[in-house]
Subunit: 383 residues, 2 copies
């Protein structure tokens, strides 16, 4: 019986070639030829004002926290149903995290609940485009204007996905907030094992972003000949990935359209193959709001309860098919509760207990998974 | 006329092969098969208690700062003649940096000046093994015991280098302090473009190091089956490099002895080729204290004044040979002086103004550089 893993990194074919090209260029530290090519391609394709590759999406979020000067006591609003780094990047700078519940129809944060969470201490809102599906950015940007808050898009899963606002303009995710963070972790549509990128849409951050990414030095200015020596001018870290990583990513990026086409096929096959079964009421299929596109990052089901999810995971495993769940809600985590009191977040808990992610990668043939699921659902419905 | 660059990354031949092996393993995110192989090889070869690859030496130092719980107001003693990350890693957590001067005979910090810098706020000493040459660790560890301070070895340049204490035991650098940080930046003896490693010698940090490196989660425990789900338990970041980086590094690490032999040949050729010229008094050759080995990371000259250094750099450049200087002293940096008053550090300034690094990489044939230098020195001595 064939094993179907949950995720499998995909090689487009040119990764190794580009890595050797990087080595032969004589520079494989950060900001080599492939890092620059990635920056240019992202900026051209999506119209982002400035892109900077980082070693991870976590690091891109940490850069964002440094750029907006998060200090002890500042509050940052974000969903609880997200990866731990969304929160930790701000906690590292002293922020208090204020968690917002998910939407009833979608794991993304409920935009209508944000305003009541804003206080005088609030400094930023961090919407997470869960599964690459846009949050309602008109609502969030309106709050940002009204209360003078920064918006940092956690676009970890959101490459090549779009939001259409009330003005009818279709904007790529990551281009709307002041700053945005992307992930190229191996589970993402395009990837480099570990990897990330910060997108800077607010020009006030251009210069300082370069400094913070270069260990707090004005080295970038030096290489452009704008200063005659470079030194320590700010806090910062080493956020640059090796050009080996950028070379790998560039090969993926060149094949983005082909990758997206294939993922879209897998997503649609899952959706159409499971549509009738969903009518039994055992689980729900993903819902994509009108203003959002679907970048086919993830295919998930939401079961009625955690027991059913547990049973499905286990029965799939018997058939050598590996499905996974996430996230353990951050508002209930040991770490958060050691500094904060408990809040009730109904839908966060629901997704945390009932959402299941199906295998999703370029080379997957989803039919085997669909057939297995249909058999399992038949058994469960007969109970 | 052939161009001799300052640094050139060296391929041992198996880097690409190992990268494909990593991809075929189905996992190129952090802690894949090559990351584990690197950890095991480092632990076995040098007897380090626990090794964890990081995305850079900067990140390893930041992990160290998190592990020893650096807080606002804590003081950390380190040389001023070092890379900015040595300081920034601790400044990010709120530390005040107290700079110690370099030694007269060596750019490393003057161990005899440390004690007078210790206050009630001092939490750690960060010796930097400059050019891979050991600091006098007996003196530093004695201060650590006397005042209950952590010692974090900045071993960025110090792979495969040793210290022999008064007890006669020869210990690898990075194995003596409570924690140590290594760099695999492309200028280092073995490298992965960007890359680093934290070495943990004090067992109290074993468990928390894994948590901090895994974004503040107990994921490592989960994978070992010690907990049944993992969650947010601490602050942390994404310090893991992609397994692509580890695969590249592993190919280098397997060839460490060959690399070291070649670098040793280059270093000795430089030393012997320039020995007579040094008698003119125009410059000094590196001095290696008796208790230290030389890992041939760097070959440098110390000129009598900055004008001579400037002239030599310029004359080498006319011959298409690229030499570099560093560091702009941290105690005089714009950033440090915005929070601290100026101190006088005589030898730090001297090395900052007069030290010159010669080209140094596996494929270098040093004779061309030596001949060029001898011609330049002859001209200078005739002036």
């Amino acid at each position: 019986m064939e094993t179907i893993v949950f995720n499998k990194p995909y090689l487009t074919g040119k990764e190794g070639h580009y890595i050797y090209q990087a080595v032969l260029s004589g520079k494989i530290s950060g900001d080599g030829i492939f890092t620059k090519r990635c920056h240019e391609l992202f900026e051209k394709k999506y119209g982002y004002k400035k892109c900077l590759l980082t070693t991870s999406c976590t690091d891109a979020l940490e850069m964002a926290a440094l750029l907006i000067n998060i200090k002890e006591g500042d509050e940052v609003i974000m969903p609880s149903y997200t990866f731990v780094s969304t929160a930790n990047a701000f906690v590292l700078r002293g922020a208090k995290i204020v968690f917002c519940d998910s939407r009833k129809d979608h794991p993304g944060m409920d935009e209508d609940q944000i305003e009541q969470l804003i206080t005088k201490q609030t400094k930023a809102i961090v919407p997470v485009h869960y599964a690459g599906v846009a949050c309602d950015m008109d609502k969030i940007m309106a709050l940002s204007k009204k209360y003078n808050l920064y918006v940092i898009e956690d676009a970890a899963q959101a490459i090549d996905s779009y939001y259409t606002g009330v003005d009818g303009i279709k904007r790529p995710l990551g281009s709307i907030g002041h700053l945005a963070a992307f992930s190229f972790h191996e589970t993402k549509n395009i990837m480099s094992g570990e990897g990330g990128m910060i997108v800077i849409n607010d020009e006030q951050f251009f210069e300082r972003a370069e400094v913070i990414r270069e260990k707090g030095t004005n080295r970038s200015k030096f290489f452009r000949g704008e200063v005659d020596k470079y030194g320590w001018v700010d806090i910062g870290s080493s956020f640059l990935p090796s050009d080996i990583i950028a070379a790998f990513l560039y090969a993926q990026l060149e094949n983005l359209d082909e990758i997206q086409q294939r993922r879209k096929y897998i997503w649609d096959t899952y959706y159409n193959g499971l549509k009738s079964a969903a009518e039994s009421g055992l689980f729900k299929l993903p819902e994509i709001p009108n203003y959002a596109t679907n970048n086919s990052h993830m295919f998930y089901l939401v079961f009625n309860n955690s027991d059913t999810r547990k049973e499905v995971i286990s029965k799939l495993k018997e058939k050598n098919i590996y499905s996974v769940f996430h996230y353990i809600s951050l508002h209930k985590s040991k770490f958060h509760l050691s500094y904060n009191s408990e809040v009730e977040l109904e839908y966060t808990d629901k997704y945390s207990e009932c959402l299941l992610r199906l295998p999703m990668y370029f080379e997957l043939e989803p039919k085997v998974v669909i057939d297995a699921l249909l058999t399992i659902f038949n058994q469960l419905n007969k109970k």
